[in-house]
């Protein structure tokens, strides 16, 4: 019983799923095309929502406008141009690349390059700072001697007074 309840509760969010704002349309194909285009466009009132998902009145009007223009046989690009000529590039979620948006488009790559450059520079500098370790002839001889020893590990332990 308890598990059933948990299962039911865990399924609850399914019902909270919010669909796209719906408008009546006789032609489902056209409606699909309109939604597809409206998803690429920004609602001007609630600026972080697409035209497709917004319930603002202006968004509804704009969807109606888009739908009617599609019925008139205008292409998606023509409709986008129409909206841009009235509301500016702001309606586009994908702002076009032009001089004023260069920083927006390429700024992050420039920052990445600068960051990478600084990293490489710093690493090179650090490497040149670390001197090759110098070892005296005496130390080298002792090291070779230790390496040559064939003592078994147990004997080493026995020899160690601390153990």
């Amino acid at each position: 019983m308890r598990y059933l309840l948990i299962l039911m509760l865990s399924l609850l969010p399914v019902f909270a799923y919010a669909g796209e704002a719906k408008d009546m349309a006789e032609d489902p194909v056209l409606e699909q095309r309109m939604i597809g285009l409206a998803e690429k466009l920004r609602c001007l009132v609630c600026q972080n929502e697409s035209l497709a998902s917004s319930h603002a009145e202006l968004a509804e009007d704009l969807r109606r406008e888009v739908r009617e223009q599609m019925q008139k046989g205008m292409t998606d690009q023509e409709i986008i141009d129409y909206l841009v000529s009235r509301y500016g590039d702001f309606v586009l979620y994908d702002p076009p690349v032009k001089t004023s948006t260069l920083v927006l488009w390429y700024g992050p790559f420039a920052l990445l390059l600068i960051g990478g450059g600084v990293l490489v520079y710093q690493l090179r500098k650090r490497r040149s700072q670390i001197a090759e370790p110098q070892i005296s002839a005496e130390d080298a001889r002792r090291a070779a001697e230790l390496l040559d020893q064939t003592d078994k590990p147990e004997e080493l332990i026995k020899k160690d007074p601390q153990a």
Partner: protein, 175 residues
């Protein structure tokens, strides 16, 4: 020394960017219509629906097109400013009553006064879309050739009236 200067410079640059960003208004969408001819329309007048009005009738005059609605909250704030402006008789104000009901609109003008030479009713908001209206109130300054010279987004205040709109109107009228 370099160790401290470089991060400090980076910090200052970032701080300036963020500070400017904080003071920008993200709701202000620059209108691509400024410098373009005002979109044509013919709409019935609010008070006399039998009579149409079209921006073409205004050729040769500098005029203001104010988008308003009785349901618009900020319009209330703007209304006294427009009333005062119409009393001073500097520039004719025409109203575009946006997505409104006739009765509500008339009641609003009766109560608060009517600063407009006339208003036209854009009941379905189609002309609004043509003008790129996205938040009422909005005010357009249109010159003698019918070109939009300025768009005020949000209410006209005494400040932006004296600083921007009236100097522009005077300049356009002198042309």
């Amino acid at each position: 020394m370099m160790r401290f200067i470089l991060p400090f410079v980076v910090f200052v640059v970032l701080a300036v960017f963020l500070f400017v960003g904080l003071n920008l208004n993200p709701r202000e969408v620059p209108s691509p219509l400024v410098g373009k001819p005002a979109p044509a329309f013919t709409l019935p007048q609010l008070h006399e629906p039998a009579k149409p009005f079209s921006p073409a009738d205004m050729k040769g005059q500098v005029w203001l097109l104010n988008v308003w609605a009785s349901w618009c909250v900020s319009c209330k704030e703007e209304h006294p400013v427009l009333m005062e402006l119409s009393r001073r008789n500097i520039v004719p104000i025409y109203g575009l009553d946006y997505k409104d009901k006739q009765a509500d609109a008339e009641l609003w003008l009766k109560r608060g006064g009517d600063p407009y030479v006339l208003s036209v009713a854009d009941a379905e908001g189609r002309i609004g879309i043509d003008y790129g209206v996205y938040g009422v109130p909005e005010t357009y300054v249109i010159d003698k050739q019918g070109v939009i010279q300025y768009k005020q987004i949000g209410p006209v205040t005494p400040q932006n009236l004296t600083e921007k709109i009236l100097p522009l109107v005077a300049e356009l009228q002198a042309k």
